[in-house]
């Protein structure tokens, strides 16, 4: 049996041929059953060796749950012209079989960066959906390049915790509105447990009618440096609640109705995460959501009297691979994020 996980340097023009040879060689060893699997083409775009390594490791871990052809691209427009590639396989054991997904790595610098979009396009498995993961901040200054790479993509994945301005959110919104590429944000997935916790407060039928009685929502965000991306979870939470409650949000981020949204800065904890939510009703009663530090789970408290620690007992995995798995595990594009993004862009003005 050959070692499929070993990186094999290959000529850029012969990547597919080299992959075929790799599998042909493996098939000569029928005693070691290897199954090749793919449900997605996942292209990770990076701009440094460190992020390239991070993307490769993350997608390798994710491939055991979401088999995929992984293409990790490192583009550094400023360097000497270079275009090189290597291939390997990410394998895991499933039952008696070893299941492997292919990984292609491409490094381009200088003028060779322009060759990446058509090269990536040619390496995609036909009839399989394409996800384009933009690792790091979006290059707003080179929108044409982003559009070219996104052209074949069904899903765009960003992580808005890296965003340095509201224009990045706006670029994601525009992609969602103007193209067939559906936006996905790891940061949006990351705080899903907070949305679940908030939803659970209103699951009991007698609480459902109190949605209309909300008067103030106070969201505390952990922001160590005050960096824009560290506010986005909290901004998303406020925007999501506004959208689901059918509230109108003004261009300057204020809410016209009788509801006040307050975003507060908190230190201590994971930067960029929500630290707590307090919802105040018309009669002065409150519902709070906080994290039980000891058990690592979210708890909800309604009216300050009835504590419902069993409202949320699960903590979602929040490693990048967990988020990628959850995002790609949803066959349909997120229909809520495109509704929330325009509101989030307005609300972000409060913290920008």
């Amino acid at each position: 049996m050959i070692d499929l996980s070993k990186e094999v340097r290959v000529d850029v023009g012969a990547i597919e041929k080299s992959l075929a040879a790799l599998w042909r060689e493996e098939s000569l060893h029928p005693e070691h059953a290897v199954t090749r699997a793919a449900l997605w083409n996942v292209v990770a775009h990076t701009c440094s060796a460190e992020r390239h390594k991070f993307a490769s490791e993350t997608l390798s871990a994710a491939s055991s749950s979401v088999p995929q052809r992984t293409i990790v691209v490192r583009a550094t427009p400023g360097g000497e012209p270079e275009l090189s590639s290597w291939i390997s396989a990410n394998c895991h054991v499933s039952g008696e079989k070893q299941v492997c997904s292919e990984e292609i790595n491409i490094v381009a610098s200088g003028s060779q960066v322009d060759r990446l979009p058509p090269l990536v396009d040619a390496l995609l498995i036909p009839d399989m959906p394409v996800a384009m993961w933009w690792v790091g901040d979006l290059p707003n200054e080179n929108e044409r390049y982003v559009e070219q790479l996104l052209d074949p993509a069904d899903r765009m994945i960003v992580d808005s915790v890296f965003f340095d301005r509201a224009a990045d959110l706006d670029l994601v919104r525009r992609v969602g509105e103007r193209t067939t590429t559906a936006p996905g944000d790891l940061n949006w997935i990351r705080f899903e447990d907070w949305r679940m916790a908030a939803a659970s407060v209103f699951d009991p039928p007698d609480m459902r009618s109190r949605l209309g009685d909300i008067r103030r929502v106070r969201i505390a965000a952990v922001t160590e440096s005050g960096f824009f991306g560290e506010w986005i979870e909290a901004v998303y939470f406020a925007s999501w609640l506004s959208v689901q409650l059918g509230l109108h949000v003004e261009e300057d981020g204020s809410v016209g109705e009788d509801i006040a949204f307050e975003l507060q800065r908190r230190s201590g904890g994971i930067a960029g995460s929500i630290a707590g939510v307090e919802i105040t009703f018309a009669d002065g009663a409150t519902a709070t959501i906080s994290r039980d530090a000891e058990r690592g789970v979210l708890t909800t408290t309604v009216n300050g009297i009835v504590t419902m620690p069993d409202a949320i007992t699960r903590t979602f995995g929040k490693r990048p691979q967990d988020l990628i798995i959850r995002l790609l595990g949803q066959p349909d594009a997120d229909r809520l994020l495109p509704k929330v993004l325009p509101v989030a862009i307005r609300m972000a003005k409060r913290v920008a």
């Binding site: 199954t35 449900l39 749950s65 659970s200 699951d203 039928p205 689901q244 069993d310 007992t313």
Partner: protein
């Protein structure tokens, strides 16, 4: 699927979340809580739902049985059960702690009126302390003999709300067997509907909770490629196999009164047949799906009186070996009559007399102590009309086979011919395979988890309706009567074989053979 009869407007904050449908908290009362089913399937299944965040806050589970436990003793016992049987193991202490807060126990005999009074009182307390709002689900994990008694006392204590009137829901889950024959099934249904309305009843056939069984509908009706070929024009025959490698284990007494036909064919296999053969439903909703399934059952051709043996064979295992282990004969099993004539294997050729399936045989076989545990459906397509290739060889033209593996190693494969590389045109069969584990990685939820959740949500699509159960018995009863009268009894087969020789003869006289699943 749609949830029937929602109590209040959906929660808008649930939109887009992984679990868009979270049921309202209810009291789930398990009658027979000290039994095997509760410990192996129900509580571990409920725990796994809690683990996956699918149970609502305040969901309350109340065990009811004769054994003398306190709440804490019951919790301890159930924790041990989850440690052994939960899908999501090891059990997470934090999640268990929360889950266990909703676990309670009420001791009582099923015929003890006072026990129901006590049960009602405690359920009322939970409504106040846990927000269960009067919603009730009664899980009757008890032998059918107790159904009338439990139904009567629940009714007498006014513990069942009429869905025709305003108020919280009451639902009842009934475990198979749904009767022993048509008459007893009708009686059981009559008793059940004297207390509950049909739409409050959830008859569990756990096969319907399996992902691969549900995928049958997706395969057929979500893919444009298959349905045009899914008829007598293109399909030669269909085979269904439900094989178990184990014997009757500790269920000897039950099996003596049932046999494999009642235990497997009347319910699980006929459910599979109806899903394979049904017409597209007008919607993926409970009654629309079940209407189409029952039409298939109504179209099953009757066994010709006096000639049943031409279409059905029965067998019983003798000493042998399975998977390298010695296996004793059925008649030597615990609680089994040494002269028993109960069948542990049955095979039959079945026809569905309707426009789509006229004269297409469905070959069914089910048995215990067969070489391996496997449930498999294979659709055998008609061969190409003319042998263009392999003319010079004696190779018989192969059928294309679409195989749907229900368990284990769930998946779908398609067999077709391909050219063998080389200068001459020679063909060989190859398979194209899809495996759940390979493609989706994640472990599918246990059937009971899905079915418990569907009950809480009030969706009965995956449950058997009264007319399905009675129509299945109506078709099968004459065969069972004929077998009961036939003194020859079942044909013997050594444990570890695919049934008796007459099972092979049943299909071979049609020029076909059983597929090795």
């Amino acid at each position: 699927m749609t949830t029937t009869a929602p109590d209040v407007e959906p929660n808008p904050l649930r939109e887009g979340l992984e679990q868009e449908r979270v049921p309202d908290a209810s009291c789930l009362v398990i009658f027979g809580a000290s039994g095997d089913l509760t410990q192996r399937k129900l509580i571990p299944g409920l725990y796994s739902l809690a683990h996956d965040g699918l149970l609502p806050a305040g969901q309350t589970i109340v065990g009811f049985s004769r054994s003398d436990y306190t709440d804490d003793e019951f919790r301890k016992l159930m924790r041990e059960a989850c440690d052994k049987h939960a899908r999501t193991r090891p059990v997470d202490d934090a999640i268990w702690e929360n889950f266990a807060k909703g676990l309670f126990y009420v001791r009582g005999n099923f015929d003890e009126h006072q026990a129901y009074v006590e049960l009602k009182k405690r359920l009322g307390e939970f409504d106040k302390t846990r927000g269960t709002g009067g919603r009730r689900i009664y899980y009757l994990a008890v032998p059918p003999d107790y159904f009338p008694l439990i139904c009567e006392l629940l009714g007498k204590e006014q513990m069942v709300n009429d869905p025709e009137k305003d108020g919280p829901y009451t639902r009842a889950i009934i475990e198979k067997p749904f009767g022993h024959d048509l008459e007893s099934a009708r009686e059981l249904n009559r008793v059940a509907v004297s207390t509950f309305r049909e739409r409050q009843l959830f008859r569990i056939d756990h096969y319907l909770g399996k992902e691969t069984v549900q995928n049958l509908l997706v395969l057929r009706f979500a893919n444009g490629i298959f349905e045009p070929f899914w008829n007598r024009q293109y399909i030669d025959h269909v085979q269904l196999t439900v094989a178990e490698s184990i014997g009757v284990e500790k269920r000897g007494a039950y099996f003596e009164s049932a046999g494999i036909t009642r235990d497997i064919i009347q319910n699980h296999m006929l459910q599979l047949v109806s899903l394979v053969a049904m017409e597209p439903p007008v919607a993926f909703e409970a009654d629309a799906v079940r209407d189409e399934k029952v039409k298939v059952l109504r179209a099953l051709r009757e066994f010709p009186k006096g000639k049943e043996a031409e279409l059905a064979v029965r067998g019983q295992y003798t000493d042998g070996s399975v998977l390298g282990e010695e296996a004793i004969a059925y008649r030597r099993e615990e609680n089994v009559d040494p002269k028993s004539n109960v069948e542990t294997f049955a095979a039959m050729k079945v026809f569905i007399d309707n426009w789509r399936w006229a004269d297409v045989p469905f070959y069914l076989r089910a048995g215990k102590r067969l070489p391996k545990r496997v449930t498999d459906i294979s659709i055998h397509f008609r061969p190409a009309p003319y042998p263009l290739f392999n003319k010079m060889s004696n190779v018989k033209m192969q059928s294309n086979i679409l195989s749907i593996r229900i368990q284990p190693d769930e998946g779908i494969s398609l067999k077709f011919d391909s050219k063998i590389p080389g200068p001459t045109v020679r063909t060989a069969p190859v398979t194209m395979e899809f495996r759940y584990a390979t493609s989706f990685g994640a472990e599918p939820p246990e059937a009971y988890e899905r079915l418990l959740l569907e009950t809480m949500l009030g969706d009965s699509t995956l449950f058997a309706r009264r007319d399905e159960v009675e129509t299945a018995w109506d078709w099968l009863d004459p065969l069972l009567v004929a077998w009961a009268k036939d003194a020859r009894g079942p044909e013997l087969y050594p444990a570890g074989n695919w049934g008796p020789p007459s099972a092979d003869a049943l299909i071979e006289r049609d020029g076909r053979s059983w597929r090795r699943p």
